[in-house]
């Protein structure tokens, strides 16, 4: 039986100020909010709804959204590599810091309209734990309270499903500037359930731009312009559409291989999918639409703006989390969670596509008499060997009681919350002296490092960043 969960006392009043959805994209960002029950994108004065995800240094001044020569772009692809330094003029920034600057800029745009209370920020469904944590850290740097991270295809499905009232099994095919995601969902009145998801974080429009740029001796910017023009023209600046399509073909094929895999994981055939919702700017390419249609054997659905769907869904989610929602989102973990075993092999403890929140419990015993500690290495990924997967946490349980081999028993819980974030808890229960530890993976970006980063970035910032670190740390400790 389920216990009735109720809050004692009266319900809290809804917060004042703006609650928004932010699509923090590889090439551009979109912000939306819900007004009178309907989601709308913000059209920022002079900037339109699409804010380019660029960080530019000009005359010792940092600017976001404009391209003025010395620029960092498409850094979202590096979000999981937290500590990597990217040079910009005489300075360097980590991907987290760049995202922080972009979010700070979005916040200032939003606050022209009203005070920002909190936001739902979207991430690619295929983002691993490291990239998710990095996104939350970027929001902390920008001083934005995150209600929750939400997977991009799930957000798009929410926008599409609520707008059209669609029910049944739908695929969301999301091909953007930097990443590809596909999710299969069961849409029903009141519940949207993700059945399976897959993707590639290094597959997007940028790759096509790069190949076109190299083959024609152009800059990436010029190549992108030509690619965009070829959506409606047969020829532009001497490049024929068929040439671009030949370049795009291997990338599009790869998305279909992933689509096949995701269908298989859900035990479905392409025919079982009622509709395919296209999301992401790249789905404007006629050859992408044609290949998706051939694969799913039905014309894809394009009745929602592919650039705005994710932000609109994030806004609906933010509104629902604040004021209560009639539609529940049930999402899954995109990557398997495993433990290192003998010989550098991985044993899976939570397979991918497990519904969230999820928990796996494992019991370990000592192998030697008086063994005082044991090392537990947690990894994420589908491959069999440790070196091919993402290391999330490696920690030693110390101070185990001195007992014969096999007599010490340690239970380790691996919990993944609804945002896809992992917590590991270990309890040594043999002696009744419960030895309790909690691990939150942070990829070299622990509280101290974050504080240092914030200090370094102060020469560009005006606000009291120290306070933000404290807030973030308090939040972290609370969770």
């Amino acid at each position: 039986m389920l216990l009735q969960i109720t809050e004692p006392g009266s319900p809290r009043p809804p917060p004042v100020g703006l609650v928004v959805g932010i699509d923090l994209g590889t090439t551009h960002c979109v912000v939306a909010h819900v007004k009178e029950g309907k989601p709308h994108v913000f059209g920022f004065e002079g900037e339109g709804p699409l804010v380019p995800s660029l960080l530019t240094l000009e005359d010792e001044k940092l600017q976001v959204g404009v391209d003025l020569g010395k620029t960092l772009s498409s850094t979202k692809r590096l979000m999981g590599e937290g500590a990597k330094k990217l040079p910009l003029g005489d300075y360097s920034f980590t991907p987290v810091e760049v995202a922080g600057k972009i979010l700070e800029h979005l916040k200032s745009l939003i606050e022209r309209i009203g005070p920002l209370t909190a936001a739902v920020i979207t991430v690619p469904a295929y983002f691993d734990e490291a990239a998710r944590v990095a996104t939350k850290q970027a929001a902390a740097l920008a001083g934005i309270k995150v209600l929750r991270l939400l997977n991009e295809p799930t957000a798009a499905a929410l926008a599409y499903g609520l707008e059209t009232g669609a029910e049944g099994i739908y695929a969301v095919y999301d091909l953007g500037g930097g990443t590809f995601d596909i999710s299969l969902l069961k849409l029903e009145k009141g519940v949207f359930q993700v059945l399976s998801t897959g993707g590639d974080l290094q597959l997007g429009g940028d790759d096509i731009d790069d190949v076109l740029a190299v083959s024609k001796g152009l800059s990436r910017k010029q190549a992108r312009k030509i690619k965009e023009q070829l959506t409606s023209c047969e020829e532009w600046e001497g490049v024929h559409r068929s040439e671009l399509e030949a370049i795009a073909d291997p990338f599009v094929r790869k998305t279909l291989t992933i689509s096949q895999d995701v269908l298989q994981a859900a035990g479905l055939s392409p025919e079982a999918v009622q509709g395919v919702v296209l999301v992401g700017g790249m789905t404007r390419m006629p050859c992408v639409q044609a290949q998706v249609e051939a694969f799913f054997k039905k014309p894809p659905l394009m009745d929602i703006n592919p650039d705005e769907a994710v932000a609109l869904g994030a806004a609906l989610s933010a509104d629902g989390l604040t004021h209560g929602s009639k539609t529940l989102l049930l999402d899954v973990t995109p990557l398997s969670l495993g433990l290192e075993t003998a010989g550098g092999l991985i044993e899976k403890i939570l397979p991918r596509n497990t519904p969230l929140p999820a928990l796996a419990s494992e019991e370990f015993t000592t192998q030697a008499d008086g063994q005082g500690g044991m090392v537990i290495h947690v990894l994420q990924g589908e491959r069999e060997f440790v070196q091919d997967c993402r290391s999330l946490a490696c920690f030693e349980l110390k101070g185990l009681p001195a007992l014969p081999a096999g007599a010490v028993r340690v239970r380790v819980d691996f919990a993944i919350d609804v945002e896809g974030l992992l917590t590991v808890t270990a309890v040594e229960k043999t002696t009744g002296l419960s030895h309790h530890i909690e691990v939150r993976p942070s990829y070299g970006l622990d509280g101290k490092t974050l504080e240092k980063m914030l200090k370094e970035s102060q020469r560009f910032g005006k606000e009291d960043v120290q306070n933000r670190v404290k807030t973030e740390e308090t939040l972290h400790n609370k969770h």
């Binding site: 809050e7 009141g190 519940v191 928990l359 494992e362 019991e363 370990f364 015993t365 044991m374 609804v418």
Partner: protein, 155 residues
């Protein structure tokens, strides 16, 4: 470091049927399970308590996790059968059967496995288990389950 026997699915403390408010039976319609699952998630999912206190949210997370575990164990007919006969059966199938499994595994590695043959065996075992549940012969179910586990491990 050595893995010990897993205690998470201890049936004495975790009843997936009652957690989802379902009748305790092997013959569970997929649609009924799903409906019960969705209803339970509407009551427990942490998103439904986003504005509540930390304590409430943690409790919601715990319950929502248990609901997911119950759903997964009932959705899979093998796990469902195992739960109904008191947990994972540790007994070994007879040597002839084990040898057949070995051969299949070798064939699979070599890429010469006839998948259809394995699937037919799986289907027969499921039919046997269904019939045994119908006749309330739980001992027959217990005997057949380890074989079924081995067969699914080949697939």
């Amino acid at each position: 470091m050595k893995r010990a026997a897993v205690g998470a699915e201890n049936p004495s403390v975790f009843d997936p049927f009652s957690l989802l408010g379902l009748e305790k039976t092997y013959f569970l319609e997929a649609r009924d399970l799903e409906k019960a699952y969705f209803e339970a998630q509407k009551k427990t999912h942490p998103d439904q308590f986003a504005q509540a206190s930390l304590e409430i949210r943690q409790e919601a997370s715990r319950q929502s996790t248990a609901v997911n575990q119950a759903y997964l164990s009932l959705k899979n007919p093998l796990a469902r059968a195992e739960y109904l006969v008191g947990g994972k059966q540790e007994s070994l199938p007879d040597p002839d059967f084990l040898e057949k499994i070995m051969v299949w595994k070798e064939q699979k590695e070599a890429g010469t496995l006839d998948l259809e043959e394995v699937k037919v065996t799986e289907r027969h075992l499921f039919q046997e288990i269904e019939q045994a549940f119908r006749d309330n012969k739980l001992e027959t179910v217990r005997m057949a389950l380890p074989e079924l586990r081995y067969v699914t491990s080949v697939l």
